[in-house]
């Protein structure tokens, strides 16, 4: 059975909004947490497989997060509005401003990556937004886990570099 993307989209938005409210002023999101939460809530429906669900959810999640970030930015522009950020593993050694990922900057870099190598962008989407395991991603993309690992290793470094020295 096909996933009802509209329903999924609505559910993800609801949960994400809840998380934003809970996060208060901090506005950091952990997309994988939201996707997993959505999965739990929507269980019982006849998804073809968990992986299939998560793969779809990761694409939708990416849209949810980016939409949020853009709405926020335009609503608050000029009033010192806050950026929406994705939680980064906290790292004392990360460059300042990169303690959390700026969603819009990441989206820009991800688009750039997509233009150069679509599979790599998809790996990032599945891993970062969807929280899929390497094996699962390999299944979705019909490639080997080793390739996924290599793609992920390269892509995250490349993205990080794009984000830290734009």
């Amino acid at each position: 059975m096909e996933i009802d993307v509209q329903e999924l989209y609505a559910e993800l938005r609801r949960i994400a909004a809840l998380h934003f409210r809970r996060a208060g002023r901090q506005l950091t999101l952990q997309p994988t947490v939201i996707v997993n939460e959505a999965y739990i809530r929507m269980q019982g429906k006849d998804w073809r497989s968990k992986t299939h669900y998560l793969a779809t959810a990761s694409r939708v999640m990416r849209n949810v997060v980016v939409d949020y970030a853009r709405t926020r930015l335009s609503a608050k522009r000029g009033a010192g509005g806050k950026q929406i950020t994705l939680s980064f593993a906290e790292n004392a050694a990360a460059p300042p401003g990169l303690s959390a990922i700026d969603v819009i900057a990441l989206e820009r870099a991800l688009d750039e990556l997509e233009a150069l190598d679509a599979r790599k962008a998809r790996v990032v989407e599945l891993r970062w937004y969807g929280g899929l395991e390497v094996e699962e991603i390999a299944g979705v993309l019909d490639t080997s886990p080793a390739t996924v690992k290599r793609d992920w290793e390269f892509s995250r470094t490349w993205l990080y570099k794009q984000l830290s020295c734009p």
């Binding site: 952990q30 994988t32 939680s87 980064f88 593993a89 906290e90 790292n91 004392a92 050694a93 990360a94 460059p95 990169l98 990922i101 150069l116 190598d117 970062w128 929280g131 395991e133 390497v134 690992k149 290599r150 992920w152 290793e153 390269f154 995250r156 470094t157 490349w158 993205l159 990080y160 570099k161 830290s164 020295c165």
Partner: protein, 545 residues
């Protein structure tokens, strides 16, 4: 900069190639690339620089049950981060160590797993405990250690400014941990101030076994691979720096340097530090225990072996000795006992039960496992000694988790089980172990006299067993501390008798160096006992030995 798809794939290929190279060879690789395409090569250079940060930034925030909180530091092979997990009794903190993606292969991965394995096998109050291990979603290994919230040795001595006596006491605890390591055939190989922490409760913790190695039966280290590249030259012994060998004596050397860095004006401690850090390994202390004995002499105002015997020095020591209460001796007792007991039990065991226990570090899981095995054993109508073994094991767990009352209960159950068995040397061995364990638990409950009686009874029974083959290797430190605590409370007869058994113990093991130390210890303690008391029949005999 914008890249053409062709450039991008060239960069990707170079990056994949460079990632497989050790750090020192990468610069050379970048230079070779530069000859082909300078612009792309500097892109590669930047990416290689960003790689560890990128890895840390995009690492999943959850490993197994553990949620990542923040970065604590970067170790040789990977990142160490603070993490927490939920337990039935609340949140538990841990330090999670994750192998760096670049190192997750071949000998590096083996080295990382070895560190994990070594930590897993250790249980000592002064060593940061192993909590958990697993594979992350990419298949890279991680393990979790006890999180020690404290100051590194050098920061502690510089900022807290402890008295020289306090330094000596902490150092003695550290030596106990190192002695325990060495008796477990492990050399730490990287003892330095940043690997020795003083926690909030003021206890010493030794950590980072990233360079540690196992010893062969002949005392030589097995794996000499690349640990040389990882060591810290300022604190490493000459033989480590030359890469010729790495033995317990190398740890003694580093300990000597550590002590020298904080011994202040104390000529005694300086002498101990000097003896420990001689260039020639054979001129150093023969063991961490021997070094600890000298630090103890210093604490008791007794002559320090490292200083030349000189009448005036000895007289001065003697005069000061009796002014200061020896009461502090008791506090080290519990720590020493825990270390010995766990290790003695562990060393003796080879059963599957043991590996279940050690592998399942989560107490509730371990208990469940033990109970399950216990039930199975009962069904199989196992000998009573086996059942006693299970109770003993439960008691051990309770004791380690500071529940002496529960431990005592289990020991009682073990005793009942053993009493029902037919007499045999095996049963007697079990009883010896039970008595020693009971002694330990009683000591933990501060019932020193009862503890001493149990220990003495245990040794008396031990001597009647034909082959006497019971693991008693680790108990020396405990026995000495127990004797000290007893003597400090005026229980001379029991204290001396325990020291006497300590001599018999090492004689039987065949460790003549330690036997000599123990004999000297016995004689020294006898000399402190007032003549009138010593002339009692029993003590005269023991002290004449």
């Amino acid at each position: 900069m914008s890249l053409s798809p062709a450039d991008f794939h060239q960069l990707e290929a170079w990056f994949a190639e460079a990632s497989t190279l050790p750090a020192e060879k990468r610069a050379r690789f970048v230079e070779i690339c530069r000859e082909t395409d300078a612009r792309l090569a500097s892109e590669l250079e930047q990416m290689l620089e960003a790689q560890p940060l990128a890895e840390a930034a995009f690492l999943p925030r959850q490993h197994g049950d553990w949620r990542i909180k923040r970065v604590l530091g970067e170790g040789g092979l990977g990142l160490v981060r603070l993490a927490e997990r939920d337990t039935p009794t609340g949140k538990q903190l841990g330090a999670i160590k994750h192998i760096h993606a670049n190192f997750d292969a071949g000998s590096f991965r083996a080295r990382f797993l070895k560190e994990c394995e070594i930590l897993k096998a250790l249980a000592h109050p002064q060593i940061a405990a192993f909590l958990d291990a697993g594979l992350d979603s990419a298949g890279s290994p991680y393990f979790v250690m006890e999180y020690v919230n404290g100051l590194a040795w050098d920061d502690y001595t510089a900022h807290v400014k402890p008295t020289v006596e306090r330094v000596a006491m902490l150092f003695r605890d550290l030596l106990a941990a190192v002695a325990y390591l060495h008796e477990s055939s492990i050399v730490h190989a990287d003892i330095k101030p940043s690997n020795v922490l003083i926690d909030r409760a003021g206890a010493v913790k030794l950590l980072d076994f990233g360079a540690a190695r196992m010893l062969d039966a002949d005392g030589k280290s097995r794996d000499s691979t690349f640990t040389r590249a990882m060591l810290t030259p300022e604190w490493a012994s000459p033989e480590q720096r030359q890469g010729t060998s790495c033995t317990p004596a190398s740890d003694i050397y580093s300990l000597g340097l550590l002590l020298r860095s904080c011994c202040g004006e104390s000529a005694d401690l300086r002498a101990i530090a000097d003896k420990a850090s001689r260039d020639e390994p054979s001129e150093r202390y023969e063991s961490a225990l021997a070094m600890a004995a000298d630090v103890t002499h210093f604490l008791r105002n007794e002559p320090v072996g490292a200083r030349t015997a000189n009448m005036q020095y000895r007289a001065r020591k003697f005069a000061r000795r009796h002014r200061i209460a020896a009461a502090f001796a008791a506090c080290a007792l519990v720590a020493a006992g825990a270390a010995w007991w766990i290790e003695a039990e562990r060393a003796r065991q080879a059963s599957e039960l043991r590996s279940t226990l050690i592998e399942n570090v989560r107490p509730e899981k371990a208990i469940a496992q033990v109970l399950k095995s216990a039930a199975a054993d009962m069904e199989a109508d196992a000998p009573k000694t086996e059942q006693a073994q299970l109770h003993l094991r439960m008691a051990q767990m309770h004791a380690v988790r500071s529940r002496p009352d529960n431990a005592a209960q289990e020991l009682k159950a073990a005793e009942t089980a053993v009493a029902a068995d037919a007499p045999s040397p095996e049963r007697d061995k079990m009883r010896v172990r039970l008595l020693l364990s009971q002694g330990f638990v009683l000591g933990k409950q501060d019932k020193l006299v009862e503890a001493a009686d149990m220990v003495i009874e245990a040794f008396k029974l031990w001597e009647t067993i034909p082959d006497r083959n019971i693991e008693l290797r680790q108990s020396g430190y405990y026995l000495r501390e127990l004797a000290d605590a007893l003597i400090a409370r005026g229980e001379f007869s029991r204290g001396i008798e325990i020291l006497h058994w300590n001599v018999r113990r090492t004689e039987w093991i065949g460790d003549s160096a330690t036997t000599n130390v123990n004999k000297r210890d016995l004689a020294a303690r006898c000399a402190t006992i007032p003549e009138a008391i010593r002339s009692e029949e029993k003590l005269t005999k023991l002290c004449a030995n």
